[in-house]
């Protein structure tokens, strides 16, 4: 399948009083058409900022300082943030759903006003057509009696329903890529399952690709075809979902799998926490940022700079010098 988005060596930095924060540091990844990928990491690892960079939604003091974002053959970083080209892509060709359904809708506009705005703006629909389409979209994402609810305000909707509205908005202009940034984290478990299942069906129906940004390894295990694991602004491991979970090779990924409780675990299983803390992104060392927490470290890790992404087999890459294959590493 053809690549629809390719990000090469993306660097996004934030200038702060205490120094430059390298939030996204040399990140490269790609998405194929109609593919679901997962971008996994803990808070502050740069997963959200990398996606906001693709949308060019980085404001001062943040700045995209390097790299390429190739979408449908053109480098988006050629365009300025507010250029007409970027505006025609952002929200229409590449759409994004945010974590907080409570705060990402405008409380003083009706759901209808917010849904039709994009249709009128991007697809040049008449108000009447846009309203019809909006009702249709609301029905598709599972909002019952959409016609009667389109003139409601966000506060009339529950959290799950608001996130459905966000998904309808994201899909309204028939995007090629939908980026879902922790789409269900703020919601209840059974609502999470409803929404993820619906989202998967919808991107299939719209023939779009889906990027799931999350810290939840279970969610990507269930939905993603390929996974990128991020740590301290960089991708440390990438591969197919099955490879990453059955044969994790980066010490961080292995650590993550050992420190989460699993529903189906044996009784008496001990969690192995990853000791220490994620690094401060200001004044990062040139060596591997995971080094202080790593249990696989070898002498070379202290001397050489952070390794490049190197293949361990087709489609499976890690940034690590240690031979993590030596010891058997069972997930869980």
């Amino acid at each position: 399948m053809a690549e629809i988005l390719k990000v090469n060596n993306l660097i996004t930095q934030f200038k702060t009083e205490s120094g430059i924060v390298k939030a996204v540091n040399d990140v490269s990844y790609y998405i194929n058409e109609q593919e679901i990928i997962g971008l996994v990491g803990e808070s502050g690892c740069g997963k959200s900022v990398s996606q906001l960079s693709v949308m060019q939604l980085i404001n001062a003091p943040g700045k995209i300082t390097g790299g390429e974002i190739i979408f449908e053959g053109q480098n988006l970083l050629k365009y300025k943030q507010h250029s007409p080209e970027m505006r025609s892509i952002r929200g229409a060709r590449i759409a994004m759903i945010f974590q907080e359904p409570m705060t990402s809708l405008n409380p003083v506009l009706t759901i209808g006003q917010q849904l039709t705005e994009m249709l009128v703006l991007h697809l040049k629909m008449s108000n009447e057509d846009a309203r019809k389409r909006a009702i249709q979209l609301m029905g598709m994402v599972g909002i019952p009696a959409a016609e009667g609810r389109i003139d409601d305000y966000p506060h009339n909707f529950s959290g799950g329903m608001r996130q459905r509205v966000m998904i309808a908005m994201g899909l309204s202009c028939d995007p090629r890529i939908l980026i879902a940034d922790e789409p269900t984290t703020a919601l209840d478990v059974t609502t999470q399952a409803q929404l993820l299942e619906m989202m998967k069906d919808m991107v299939q129906r719209f023939r779009a690709s889906l990027v799931i940004v999350t810290h939840n390894l279970g969610v990507v295990a269930r939905y993603a075809e390929r996974i990128y694991i991020m740590y301290a602004g960089r991708i440390v491991e990438s591969g197919t979902t099955k490879d990453i979970f059955s044969k994790p090779r980066h010490p961080y990924t292995m650590g993550l799998l050992k420190c989460i409780p699993r529903l189906d675990e044996e009784e008496g299983r001990k969690l192995v926490p990853i000791e220490g803390l994620p690094p401060n992104l200001i004044n990062m060392p040139t060596t591997c940022a995971f080094l202080p927490r790593c249990s696989w470290k070898i002498e070379r890790c202290y001397k050489d700079p952070w390794p490049e992404l190197t293949p361990v087999n087709d489609n499976h890459f890690i940034r690590c010098y240690a031979d993590t294959k030596e010891k058997k590493s069972e997930p869980g």
């Binding site: 399952a193 409780p261 969690l271």
Partner: protein, 327 residues
Amino acid sequence: MNQDNLILDVKDLKMYFPVVRGLLRRKVADVKAVDGVTFKLMRDETLGLVGESGCGKTTIGRCIIGLYRATGGQILFEDEDITSMSEKKLREVRRNIALIFQDPYSSLDPRQSAGGIVGEPLKIHNMALNKGEYKDRVEQLLRIVGLDPSMVDRFPHEFSGGQRQRIGVARALACDPSLIICDEPISALDVSIQAQIINLLEELQDSVKGLSYLFIAHDLSVVRHISDRVAVMYLGHIMEICKSRVLYENPLHPYTRALLSAIPIADPFVEETRERIILKGEVPSPLNPPPGCPFHPRCFMAIPECSQAVPPLRTISDGHEVACIRA
């Protein structure tokens, strides 16, 4: 179950919050946050209380520690009824019940040092005779939770999220409680830090004799990991209560099954073959709960009888109770 080892006996607990309207603050309705909950907790045991937001799990915790006065029922803590206790007596009993909160960012006073926070319960309950003893105890508590005693004069903002939650745990341990209510103690933490706190809580229970946990959380995989038994709640009722191991292997209540299937397991091979039950609709408001079984409007196994009466908890096998007429 040996009755001597019983530490907490909750019988038909009800907690209704009145809804008032108008100038005269007339009571127009009740929010039935907890509506007839019964369970027991033994010494050295961890009981997990799991459910979605609004199911009443936090309210139960707050009733036990006496922050809310229960509307009905009994809470016997070490054979004394908390619901009918005087404030003075309650203050004494509270020394033996501690609470760990969800958000380590807002549950610590930003203007108090770590030592001050951890030592405050000692002062309130007059548990330190002199300054030296107080200082020793605070340092010991910090050491127990894995913090360097030299950090005693630092303030909460100087600690990371995980370290703050360790301070919260140290504060809970200050008065040697026999019951700790852990209310979502790890939900606000990062994945790699969660395991550190879970292990800390487990190690503490192994080293302190007679320490019980009531572990309240929405994440069933965490609850199952740490608990000996798990109670699944929905809209103020317990739907199922059983041993943690049995919960995953043999869930009997349809809500438990749906809840389990809604939680993805971090293993794509397991995920391929799992049963997936996607519930319809959302949790109804506790202001206006459905008649009969509170789960029946969303239940995939419901029959007309389900809307007739609230099904009581029935014992199916040893220690396995279910509130469902179809199970």
